[in-house]
Symmetry: C3
Subunit: 326 residues, 3 copies
């Protein structure tokens, strides 16, 4: 590795010379990239209209969680004496960020559809207020979700662990926020929020899904819940469960935009890991249990247990357990 000092010095000079030479090649690339903007070879958003940003979406989720579970995610202690002041600050900042982001999302949508945008600022502010006004109800729902996790998981070390750590609760929190925002007619932002949760937890819940009370997802990595899924109360899912659409040809995709394509899960259903339930006409009846890895494309009546037949395992290299004495 050792190198004579002078050779090293020469190398440095050569490297600097090369650096100058190579920097001169960059403008050609810049020109090529700029020239392809506005053509079919480039998606860009060159516009005086700003766009919502992922950083702001993370901020919205973070502030909402502070409002929903006071004292858990603040990084400093909240006491009774400063609670109101704290909550006031959180809500004020949340409202302002929401108002800006919704305005930009709406403006951008107008821009895409070549509509004039005289009241986008109004819409942004009003939707932000309605969002903030929806938080007490979302808090009530999340309290039930926490209790459902506590009931459903024998490994849980108490509600604090669930609120701090459980990816299922994080994903459901973001879903409930994004779902409200979608109901308020806000474009782009709800899906940005759900994809933030997806990245964080591996749980992909479309903001359009309708999900009831006391919902619990355990472990959760790989869960997919599609846009038109309906889920009742007290439903429990495990990792890798897909509630999806039946396979589509490219022609069918367009015709199905907006139609019910994902299943309905009634109250008190449990769906074990890796199960896949597909199709807009598929209904899993109340109190039914869907076993692990089941692939289901037809409805199931209430109070039914659905399991795969036990697979024939092929034992090689030793006899089958229980047959050693045969």
């Amino acid at each position: 590795m050792a190198m004579p000092e002078s050779a090293h010095g020469d190398n440095c000079k050569l490297e600097e010379k090369l650096s100058l030479e190579l920097h001169q090649e960059l403008p050609a690339v810049v020109n090529e990239l700029v020239a392809s903007c506005g053509t079919k070879e480039c998606f860009e958003h060159i516009s005086p209209v700003p766009l919502p940003s992922r950083e702001a979406v993370v901020e919205i989720v973070t502030r909402s969680r502070k409002a929903l579970f006071p004292g858990y995610f603040d990084g400093h202690k909240i006491e009774a004496v400063n609670l109101e002041y704290h909550m006031g600050m959180v809500l004020m900042k949340l409202y302002d960020t929401m108002a800006d982001q919704i305005t930009w999302a709406v403006r951008h949508d107008c821009f895409r559809h070549d509509q004039s945008c005289t009241h986008c600022g109004d819409r942004g502010q009003r939707a932000a207020l309605e969002f903030v006004q929806g938080l007490p109800e979302i808090r009530r729902l999340l309290t039930l979700d926490v209790l459902a996790a506590q009931e459903g998981d024998p490994a849980s070390g108490g509600v604090d662990e669930i609120i701090f750590s459980y990816p299922g609760l994080f994903a459901v929190t973001v879903y409930r926020l994004a779902h409200l925002l979608r109901h308020l007619g806000v474009p782009i932002l709800p899906r940005m929020m759900s994809e933030y949760a997806h990245a964080h937890t591996g749980i992909d819940i479309h903001p359009g899904a309708e999900i009831g009370n006391s919902f619990f997802i355990d472990h959760g990595t790989g869960v997919v819940i599609g846009e038109t899924t309906e889920i009742g109360d007290h439903v429990r899912l495990y990792q890798g469960v897909t509630l999806g659409a039946l396979s589509l040809s490219k022609e069918e995709v367009e015709s199905l935009r907006g139609a019910k394509r994902h299943p309905t899960i009634e109250d008190n259903v449990i769906i074990y890991s890796g199960a896949t339930i597909l199709g807009g006409k598929t209904v899993v009846g109340a109190r039914s249990v869907i076993g692990g890895n089941v692939w289901l494309t037809e409805s199931v009546p209430p109070d039914t247990k659905v399991f795969l037949e036990k697979p024939q395992l092929v034992y090689v290299g030793s006899r089958r357990p229980g047959k050693d004495t045969a």
Copy 2:
């Protein structure tokens, strides 16, 4: 999109007026959220006792990795001449953060159980020291884990790539740290650490699991290893493997809290992607191989290969391969 300047100015004034009006709606929401604190409709931690924080957990993991793999994660070069100084700084900061966080976790536990908390600070400091004193042994174990990855993966570009990039090594590193912390009787923090790793890697290893030497998880997304799982030496897992509990009714959940609910995997076992092994009495014997997507709820003797019977594939639109000439 163009708008006369004056109309734009009017709009701005209207938006400001609206903004003032809407801000006046916020205190009602603040009051509603504050009022529901302390009721059954809200989980909060309004208390003079601070809580551990996710940011600190990330810091603990980051500093521990700097101590365990010096020079890899420091963002600047570590030379022999500054190694001791560097390691001293890393350990000192790690100890201080740990002492605070453990103290807060312990205090919070006392608070939840209405116990007095006269020695929480002591416990925090002593546990932090024991944690730091455990790092040399964890380093020894991780060295074996790195070698196991090197042996098990033909795509690996060497140990540096494994240490830098492999999610399996990240998850196992955090598991070994969280497992030690749990053995020291620290509440909340171990699970916060393992859920950080879960979010980062999609690999969910409960801190309570007992895992032997030379452990390798390849790819890893979707892996779940439950609280009472026991894993021997030289075991290799692939993505989507679940080592879980058998299905539980809501009544059984409470009675099983603390019991052995997850399987035992003996030495030198390989478990391929998507396999699910369930139940506290299920033992996979040494040197056995569990094939992909197998769903296993009974024990397997040593030296056994377990595979699904080859599925009958239904070919539509062309003949079955190999039968074209029949």
Copy 3:
């Protein structure tokens, strides 16, 4: 919880005394950790050669995305009038970061193989330029990937949502960047980039894979695409799909390093969620459809649909649907 003020004061003094005592135990741990450096019990990089860093890899991906999709990820608006200036800044910074990181990756490789490193700086600068010069072609490819997502997903709310939010597009973007870098012979960095995308999306695409135009991965969590996989044009994958290697004994691992171990997927193939396709000789013919959860280790001719035979579901607690009237 209340404590007399004096007792609290005493406690504080005791805690401070303990803190001093315990800090004195740290140097022994520091010495133990320093002593194990350079032994078989520790992987370290104690060296005057700096290493690439994960932070820089994140920066490279972030800047590349700004260059590839101008206006989407900048956090401020880009207008026609400042586009060229903006693009120039982005590319200049990207080039400089790349040149440093590649140089360090190459130097580290030389260091590992005990080679002299007189032209590492040159190689770093030249490879960085070639990388930047490859961006227009990558932009062209990504435009086709966005359109493929638009075509393949009835839930998509337009191209902006796809560019902002879809994890599949993020993973494919990073894959196309990492793949180019690997072709330029750069060590370590490509895999660090792909593991960043894996952590962010749950989608694990090895930079060595060869992937054609108009590629779409929906949802994506749990997808694994191995090093020697070949994928044609207009292929669509869903969550949990593995394109992997056949099972390997520890002896086979070394002999297969570099050989084709992963499948070939021809044009216009669709592979549904949870399907696993294994082996370097396995070819899925053009326009074929592989159903969910299929486990495939042999080739499939073109224009074939492969599905699992419908599993026998075991209904307990109610009759089979459709047989109620029998």
